[in-house]
């Protein structure tokens, strides 16, 4: 750990405080205008309990500070600053553990950007689960619309579930609860990045907890608006997120190749039918264009059977366009392997994944608009990833190009 102390100062009086909780709440990214509503929700979440709220770089000159007399504000200057706010970063985990140490916290809540949109009940549920002593990692379970969070549904969730035998539906959740030992473990991982000036690097708390054998639970967060990502360019976003996940998988190969627990079926919510019109034309065009232009690159990464599947897909009309779950699972697995082997430049590799991802999104949305509940399809997809995990293990162990 770096030894620079976190610069903190208490913003509320010590007197007249109810019994203080050992929980530390860390608002990792909060704008001045959303601070008051965020604190207000926190105060409502725990009307009879006092706890510390760490806030980066915001002067505590609140107009209505007295309203939050159960909250002890802890403004601090982050030793590891991050400029990324739409997702939790290495800097956030590093800073959280430092704060937890300084304030003798036994557990921490990390609430990401736009945390003011979290309801008091959601915050209370997260905190209760975190303090329950049975959980090292509490992961938020959001309920996005049918057109939202699809990168998570297509790759992050099924891959994490299959490889690390972990159930959280949102492995890259923006709001987490962590025990002190989990915070320490994440900080240790984070330090590898912060020491190399990569404060904005992503970490994967679910896989980290799985490797450590820590307990993971999920808590429902019915409503929350997600902050927009730093870039709206899909190529860059997919490269950033998938690249980080694939690296993490490479690092933890000796664990996930031996993890063999199965995840019990999830109780599915039916959810509302999509209200947006179905518009997948651009996605399909992107896929068809890539099928002509990127075929040579795909041929370096994908085996003949998968290429044949893509060929069939390329001639399907929109109405019948359907990418089989097992086809998508094997595509993702082969890209994970190619990333590990550096079959081609990693940037180019992830770029070549984008049109395939768009094809999956188009296929998924067509399915959802035909009346299939999105969560049912996502669960079927996750099962396909689990079923095909031996495919990845065998390819990983013997990455011969001469395969079916």
């Amino acid at each position: 750990m770096a030894s620079s102390p976190i610069n903190t100062a208490s913003a509320s009086p010590e007197s007249d405080m109810p019994a203080e909780s050992s929980l530390l709440v860390h608002l990792t990214a909060v704008s001045p205008e959303s601070l008051e509503p965020a604190l207000s929700n926190l105060a409502l979440a725990f009307p009879n309990q006092s706890f510390r709220v760490a806030i980066p770089d915001i002067a505590p000159n609140l107009t209505s500070a007295h309203t939050f007399n159960t909250l002890r504000l802890v403004p601090y200057t982050p030793p590891a600053p991050s400029t990324t706010f739409w997702v939790l970063t290495a800097a956030d985990y590093f800073n959280t553990y430092r704060l937890a140490q300084e304030h003798n916290a036994s557990a921490c809540l990390l609430l990401g950007a736009d945390s003011h949109t979290l309801s008091p009940e959601s915050i209370r549920n997260l905190a209760s689960a975190t303090l329950s002593h049975n959980s090292d990692l509490v992961v938020s379970h959001y309920h996005p619309g049918p057109h939202e969070g699809l990168l998570n549904s297509a790759i992050l969730y099924p891959v994490t579930r299959a490889l690390f035998c972990a159930h959280p539906r949102f492995p890259l959740a923006l709001d987490l609860g962590v025990s002190l030992r989990m915070a320490e473990r994440l900080a240790t991982q984070a330090q590898r990045f912060t020491a190399a000036n990569q404060e904005d690097a992503l970490l994967w708390p679910v896989s980290e907890a799985s490797v450590a054998g820590y307990t993971i639970t999920e808590t429902d967060v019915p409503r929350r608006s997600a902050p927009p990502p730093a870039t709206t360019e899909l190529n860059a976003l997919l490269a950033l997120i998938a690249g980080s996940l694939f690296s993490d998988i490479d690092t933890k190969a000796s664990f996930w190749q031996r993890a063999r627990n199965t995840i019990p079926p999830r109780a599915l919510e039916i959810g509302a039918a999509p209200t947006e019109p179905l518009d997948v034309k651009a996605m399909l065009e992107s896929f068809h264009l890539a099928y002509s232009n990127l075929h040579e690159i795909w041929a370096l990464v994908l085996p003949p059977h998968t290429l044949l599947g893509l060929k069939r897909l390329s001639v399907m009309p929109q109405e019948a366009f359907r990418m089989a779950d097992s086809l998508w699972a094997r595509i993702v697995y082969d890209f994970i392997l190619a990333y590990r082997l550096r079959t081609i430049n990693r940037g180019h590799l992830l770029g070549a994944l984008t049109p395939l991802y768009l094809a999956w999104v188009a296929s998924h949305l067509i399915l959802v608009h035909s009346g299939i509940p999105p969560e049912r399809h996502i669960e079927e997809l996750a099962l396909a990833f689990e079923t095909d995990k031996p495919y990845l293990v065998s390819r990983w162990r013997w990455p011969d190009r001469f395969n079916p």
Partner: protein, 575 residues
């Protein structure tokens, strides 16, 4: 300033894959025909990609090079033909950056006769501190009967020095006088040299010729209690002043005699298992597992923090000192038809030529190397099946330049070929035009790719470096079958649970290895009753085999084939 070692786990050497190389023959960067540190740095990506985790460098110190650098003339600098001390530091940093550790040589039994200490000693009067750095005698009858190691070259362990007017003691070549460890000043100088390299961040030290440090009349002058006391002093200094470093003993002795070099975990961290190596070749040629199981039965347990170093070949001859005379004769007949292939008490050939360049045999022996209890050590070039040159003198047959591609000098150097320290191998089978890294990287089915995959697979399982070994005894002796088991929660190897429970407890790894030593297909029935209900999963392809029952488990093995089977519980399988 003292630099930290690069490893974080104190027992990292147990999980390591060592790669032995000579700076001199690995890569030349300046076209002088001699390999150097900048050249080696340029090849680190290759080594990282191969998957090796620790580089063992043969001596790179100033030396007259009459024994390939083991005749050291200065302990604390770099031979100028290989670079500078700054070049070494750059290499060390570059290796560490790639998560590779570095093992160097600590050759303290003897120096070169060109070392300033010896030059001073021979000119100093008897009894003076300078003279006492070495072992002198007025007669060559002292320590009579002590074996001569380089018997092809030396007729005595004593050589007369005209300047000193006395005999000096040398267990190796006559130009390598033995240091006198009865003189405390020698120990202080050795500690200084050791600290010099450890302070730079070197991760390990190979203690060359360690049994011969101290001489006493009436003994074999090998492995004396005084020698062990010296090793304990070196180890104590390392433990007191450094973290996560290790020492590797070169003690070419029978296993029970090597055992004391581990002490109670307070001498060497690792020691080579010399007698195992020739017996692997013997078992292969005889198509009988007995030589291997027999020597392993004679191998005593070692402290939990210690580890055997395993190898198939190295920079020396395939030593036959640790075999009976009948076994030695057999090995000569089996593996060195041409007398030029023999040197001292061994065979100076590389792995591929020893095995008649048979890919299945090479893979089989590597599978044993990678799955036996210990840390495997690869010799540079063996990963691509390099050949040797038996027309070079001494042990230089196996020290030819690394073959990188089919360009001039095999891509090793741009120098005039006549200027190379050793010529590259050019014969039609093993010549650099056909056997080289570039062509094997391009060939997905090459030995290089196979080796890389096997190393990666081994690294996924700690059981190979840390687990217990238990031989099975099927009737068919052409089949070698053994179980490896590792329970991270077990306090020691000896305390590791046996029986089915050992497989089902969390985080344990149990692996069944089966090898066919025969050139023909072989059937075998294994008694795996204690694992009844488990599924063996073939590890290379992740292929589940039929469930084990309380009946003998039948397997059929292709010629020279092997299986690594992970025993998995049926309950936990995902599919």
């Amino acid at each position: 300033m003292k630099k930290a070692g690069s490893a974080t786990d104190p027992l990292w050497y147990k999980d390591a894959i060592l790669y032995e190389l000579h700076v001199r023959t690995f890569q030349d960067s300046n076209g002088d025909g001699i390999g150097d540190f900048p050249g080696l740095i340029s090849r680190l990506d290759y080594l990282q990609d191969l998957g090796v985790t620790c580089l063992w460098l043969l001596p790179f110190f100033p030396s007259p090079l009459r024994d390939d650098g083991y005749d050291i003339a200065d302990y604390t600098s770099v031979n100028p033909t290989y670079g500078t001390i700054d070049d070494f530091k750059s290499f060390l940093a570059a290796a560490h950056q790639r998560n590779m550790q570095v093992l160097i040589e600590l050759v303290i039994n003897h120096t070169s006769d060109q070392h300033p200490w010896f030059k001073a000693a021979r000119n100093a009067p008897p009894g003076s501190p300078e003279r006492d750095f070495y072992v002198w005698s007025d007669t060559d009858q002292l320590y009579k009967g002590v074996p001569i190691i380089f018997s092809d070259t030396e007729k005595s362990n004593w050589t007369w020095d005209d300047t000193a007017k006395a005999f000096y003691w040398h267990r190796f070549f006559s130009h390598q006088p033995d240091l006198n460890f009865d003189n405390p000043a020698v120990m202080e100088e050795v500690l200084k040299a050791m600290r010099f390299w450890l302070d730079l961040g070197v991760d390990g030290l190979r203690l060359d010729a360690i049994p011969y440090l101290v001489e006493r009349d009436g003994t074999t002058c090998e492995s004396l209690p005084e020698t062990h006391a010296i090793i304990r002093r070196l180890r104590a200094a390392i433990d007191a002043e450094y973290t996560n470093r290790f020492t590797l003993a070169e003690a070419n002795q029978w296993p029970p005699e090597v055992r004391p070099y581990f002490g109670n975990g307070d001498e060497c961290h690792m020691a080579f298992h010399f007698p195992l190596m020739p017996r692997i070749y013997m078992a292969l040629r005889q198509e009988d597992r007995l030589p291997i199981t027999d020597i392993m039965a004679q191998t005593p347990p070692i402290p939990d923090s210690c580890q055997w170093g395993l190898f198939l070949r190295n920079h020396d001859e395939l030593t036959l000192e640790m075999v009976t005379s009948d076994e030695r004769d057999y090995m000569y007949f089996a593996y060195s038809a041409d007398p030029r292939m023999r040197v001292n008490s061994g065979i100076r050939r590389r792995l591929a030529p020893l095995l008649d360049n048979n890919r299945q045999r090479i893979q089989l022996l590597n599978s044993i190397l990678l799955s036996f209890p210990g840390t495997p050590i690869l010799y540079y070039g063996d990963e691509i099946g390099m050949g040797d040159n038996i027309y070079l003198g001494d042990r230089n047959a196996v020290r030819t330049p690394m073959q990188w591609n089919s360009d001039r000098n095999a891509g090793f150097s741009t120098a005039n070929p006549a200027r190379l320290s050793f010529p590259v191998v050019m014969d039609p089978v093993y010549g650099y035009q056909s056997v080289n890294v570039e062509s094997e990287l391009a060939d997905q089915s090459s030995l290089l790719h196979w080796t890389r995959n096997m190393i990666a697979l081994r690294k996924l399982f700690q059981v190979f470096g840390r687990g217990t070994l238990e031989f099975l005894s099927p009737d068919n002796r052409k089949v070698l079958a053994y179980l490896r088991h590792y329970d991270p929660a077990s306090p020691s190897r000896e305390a590791t649970a046996t029986g089915t429970a050992r497989v089902t407890s969390p985080n344990t790894e149990t692996i069944l290895c089966v090898a066919n030593l025969s050139r023909f297909a072989q059937p075998v029935s294994l008694d795996l009753e204690e694992f009844s209900g488990m599924i063996p999963v073939e590890m290379l392809g992740y292929v589940p085999f039929p469930v084990i029952t309380d009946q003998p488990y039948p397997l059929t093995l292709a010629p020279y084939s092997f299986f690594w089977l992970e025993l998995q519980s049926t309950a936990g399988r995902a599919s």
